[in-house]
Amino acid sequence: MENLKYLDDVSTLVLNEEKCIGCSLCTEVCPQAVFEMKQNKAHIVDFNACMECGACVNNCPSEAISVNPGVG
């Protein structure tokens, strides 16, 4: 997907690293490799690849992630 990027700075993805409990489920469900684990915490490494599918939000056990996926 390297050469297929959509618009920059539009995603509504927000990660609250303080709330993250380090389960790494977001890195598993994200189809765009937006997250990576560093020192037992999730970090956003490719914000502009986020397509707001909501998989991470749905599966985050500590409500550390939010996104407003709209109706698309």
Binding site: M1, N3, L4, K5, Y6, L7, D8, V10, S11, T12, L25, E28, V29, C30, P31, Q32, A33, A49, C50, M51, E52, C53, G54, A55, N58, N59, P61, N68, P69, G70, V71, G72
Partner: protein, 380 residues
């Protein structure tokens, strides 16, 4: 009137039919026939479990599967292409076999079973109303609730000894692993995105590597979507073509049928070029067209197609206003349809699409009004 059949053999095959009727044909599937039900051809046999008879499906696709895949890819009957939700088996499943969850779109079902040639597993089909896993997850039919209900419905705990279901990763948009565990006792393991990676995933102790977790959008994957793109706009295109024929008739004689025909045909060519560019060429060549906005990609491809077309048309129509009208029209159609393709890709965010639409729909509408005005003006 009398019709004589005395010397005409009207049913030459009759004798043979009688012979074959008297021989017994044994079909092992006969015992599963029930009044009012029809056996599905992709079911190979049935197996007895603690939860009743479960159909075991074939992993080999047949010619008719390939034909119906072709039809569905062309958009024919694609909302009625379903399999019955519930539990199936593949290979020789037993109490230790994995449970693979999927959607009841037949194309999805076929995609899955053809990859499970040497695998013994259970397949739990959710009722997604004939929609694929990702889209159904986004719209809420491939959901925690549906999964929990299906697990309970087929009494999965009687079928397998473990407490684990493998859900395709793209189903995560509609499924919460934690809620499923809470409500059903079954743990959700997210499997790979593509069915083709399942054998490797299972061999690797249910661990997916990074490639299995990322979506792709290859040339073939883009191409295969274009027939449906074109099919869905076909009706609108026909109405537009009729409308073009009508407005092409306006002129000094108020309305002229010969003009409607001559100028109408030319404008329909501009329409077709726009459709071809926006709904086929732009999707297929997507990463090779520089801008990120799809509408802008459509303008670029649309212009590349419109310039030679207008050059040819200029032999038939000499008015500059008329040629400009056709150019604008063709490029606008291409831009709109390219923007429409944002709904079919696996990487466009709804927020991005909204931003793009707010910017480009006014541009497209203005261009459409100007080109209609110029087209009518050029007839005078």
């Amino acid at each position: 009137m009398k019709i004589s059949t005395s010397d005409v053999n009207i049913m030459p095959a009759m004798d043979k039919t009688i012979v074959s009727c008297s021989t017994e044909i044994s079909n092992p599937m006969d015992e599963y026939e029930k009044p009012g039900f029809k056996l599905c051809y992709y079911v190979d046999r049935f197996i007895q479990t603690d939860s009743g008879f479960i159909p075991v499906i074939k992993s080999k696709l047949e010619t008719k599967d390939l034909f119906s895949t072709f039809y569905v890819r062309c958009g024919i009957n694609r909302y009625k292409y379903t399999v019955a939700p519930g539990l199936y088996g593949i290979g020789k499943p037993d109490k230790n076999s994995e449970v693979l969850v999927t959607a009841n779109f037949k194309l999805t079902f076929d995609h899955l079973r053809k990859e499970l040639d040497d695998i013994n597993a259970w397949i739990l089909v959710l009722d997604t109303k004939g929609i694929n896993v990702w889209c159904a997850a986004g719209k809420g039919t491939f959901s925690t609730r549906e999964l929990v209900n299906r697990i309970k419905n087929c009494t999965l705990e009687k079928i397998v000894d473990h407490k684990r279901v493998i859900v395709p990763q793209l189903g995560a948009t509609g499924v919460s692993a934690r809620d499923v565990k809470e409500q059903s006792g079954f743990r959700v393991v997210y499997g790979p995105i593509r069915a083709g990676d399942i054998p490797a995933f299972l061999k690797n102790n249910r661990k997916a590597d990074k490639n299995m977790r990322q979506v792709t959008f290859t040339l073939y994957e883009r191409f295969i979507l274009t027939p449906v793109e074109i099919q869905t706009i076909l009706k609108l295109a026909l109405i537009t073509a009729l409308f073009l024929l009508v407005i092409s008739g306006f002129g000094p004689d108020i309305f002229s049928f010969s003009k409607a025909w001559e100028r109408g045909i030319v404008s329909v060519f501009a329409l077709m070029a726009g459709i071809f560019s926006g709904a086929f060429v732009t999707p297929v060549l997507l990463p090779f067209i520089p801008p990120r906005e799809f509408a802008l990609k459509g303008i670029i491809t649309g212009s590349i197609f419109a310039i030679p077309l207008i050059t040819i048309i200029s032999f038939a129509i000499s008015s500059f206003a008329g040629l400009l009208a056709l150019f604008l029209f063709s490029v606008t159609i291409s831009s709109y349809l390219a923007m429409n393709f944002t709904g079919a890709t696996p990487f466009t965010s709804p927020s991005g699409v909204e931003k793009e639409m707010k910017r480009y729909i006014p541009v497209q509408l203005t261009s459409l009004v100007i080109s209609s005005g110029l087209w009518i003006y050029s007839a005078f």
